[in-house]
């Protein structure tokens, strides 16, 4: 087993165990911390796949920003949140069925599919741009500029909407009919 393979297997096991631990732990704060471990393990896997930009974003956005948000939510809810109940009857067996089905479909697709290493236009585009992040940036700020800018407007409207809808109702209401 080469060093790279060892690296992969260690990270893979870490990612899967932390994901399982996150689901099964009864304590919300532990669940959040296990999720951080999972995100970091996946980020390192991206790094091994020679996707440094994705790895950095994974750590910054998920392990950083989103996890902090989750911790805030856990803090606000308190250590013992209301018990979750299942609305759909037979949710667990159904979920298991779908999960196994998805696993089967993915396994078949991976076994039957043909995988080729990065060649042709993509790797040459990366080479011309002088790196993966540069190649990505050239796409993002050129061909995909309009969707990129629109995304920021959508976020802005989301914030304005949250402010509008989350404000406290007025005490007196002169307009109800």
């Amino acid at each position: 087993m080469s060093g790279a393979e060892l690296f992969f297997y260690v990270l893979a096991v870490l990612a899967i165990t932390s994901a399982l631990a996150m689901i099964f732990t009864p304590r919300p704060v532990y669940a959040v911390l296990f999720m951080v471990v999972n995100f970091v393990a996946v980020a390192l896997l991206y790094l091994q796949l020679e996707a440094p930009f994705l790895a950095a974003v994974q750590v910054l956005v998920y392990a950083g920003a989103i996890m902090v948000l989750f911790l805030f939510v856990v803090m606000l809810m308190g250590p013992a949140p209301a018990p979750l109940w299942e609305h759909i009857p037979a949710q667990r067996p159904l979920a298991l069925l779908f999960a196994v089905g998805l696993l089967g479909a993915l396994a078949t697709a991976i076994r039957k599919g043909a995988f080729t290493p990065l060649t042709g236009t993509m790797s040459s585009a990366i080479a011309t741009a002088g790196g993966q992040s540069q190649a990505l940036a050239e796409h993002l700020y050129n061909r995909y500029l309009l969707p990129f800018e629109l995304t920021s407007l959508i976020l802005l409207v989301g914030i304005v909407g949250a402010v509008v809808l989350a404000r406290l109702p007025r005490q007196k209401n002169p307009t109800t009919d």
Partner: protein, 497 residues
Amino acid sequence: MQINWADTSFLLAPEILLTVGALIVLVLDLLIEDDTSPVLPGFTLLALVSAFGAAAAHLVTGVDDVALFMFAADPLTHFFRLLGIGTALLVLLVSVNYVQARSKHTGEFYSLLLWVTLAVVLVAGAHDLILLYLAFEFLSITSYVLVGWLRDDARSNEGAMKYLLFGAISSALMLYGMSLLYGATGTTRLTEIAAFFTIPETQITGLYSIVVPALVFLLAGIGFKISLVPFHQWAPDAYEGAPTPVAAFLSVGSKSAGFAVLARVLLEAMPAFQEHWTSLLVVLSILTMTLGNLVALRQTNMKRLLAYSSIAQAGYILMGLAAYSAGATFPADGLSGVLIYLVAYLFTNVGVFIGAVIFEQATGSVAISDYAGLIRRSPWLAFTFVVFFLSLAGLPPTAGFVGKLAVFYATVAKGLYFLAIIGVLNSVVSVYYYFNVIRQMFFMPAPEGAERVRMPASMGLALAISFVGTLLIGFYPEPFLNLANMSRDFISALPLL
């Protein structure tokens, strides 16, 4: 791939004006303490008028190009720009007094009105599935917020929540359809998708089993916006709960954006599947107009009546797309029928909503029974209602008649006689419930001590514009027919990257 900024800002001028306007309104809102200050609505009006002017200039000078690789600034887009911004202008005129009476947070309302207009415009010009999806989401999210605007009104909250839940599901369906289409063709550009399907069918037979579900999912997502049956359940609740000017915008602006997308996706990306989607559209159209009209018969709330009526109207408009035939002469091609109908529908349906806003503002009621004796309380308002209802029913000499005539003409020219007969039968049914309201206004006694219905000047102006537009198209349709004839061209071939 170098971006030419001068060209880009010229092609996207209406969009840029709307964006900058909305941002400035947001900032001005922070600086201005007074909720009733005329600065914010005035600035919103300025942004809308300048964007309208830019779009009109594009249409008149025949601009036909692609901006930033994804936005088609072609005549079809210019048409929908004018339609969307025009709707927003009329809605703004009736909103000012309405929102000032109901909320202290008027600044956000104006900026959201500009955003939602921008969303309509972007949706209409989106020429790439990625931009299309994002613009559609943009439109949905702004609409959810606007529907839930009346924070203190439980029905407004309920309407927004229902709209959000239905919207999220249909948006997921549409995205799934798009991903299937991308998987099948390897491209997100509408014209490249069309080019892919010019490959002989025998070489890509396996792909048809992917493309047909993709088509169905896309239709479900877009049908939600247009409120086609069976994707319409949100509409009555959202219209009823929403601030009435917002309901007016949803029923016209948002709906016409849906038709723009439908036209682009079907005519630009999937012309190879016309026999598939024609039969789907025929079924949807029959279901939509029949259910809309039958349920409208039993409504007692004006806003719900108008919601079902606008569902039925969507069914008629859809007939035009079902009857589409490429290269046919004007107005037998179906698409021009859709465009004429949409212009007529803009003036008529916004008009009838404006009437409802004026009545609600004066009396606080939206029940149809409270319209009794309106002829004594405001003869002018009652008379405009008659004209709008005549137009909605498709009777001469109004805009609705011209619109229906164009759509039915295309349907018959295409040989879809069954669809045309169902459409005519539905129009007859619709007369009954429209005239029921008129009967209330003219032949029922006004309640004791009812006062005259007064309207603020801006609302009166909006009502007058809609009224004149509805009659003008009925009596002198030539300029509007020319507009539709000019606008039915869309980009069919783009330079490949």
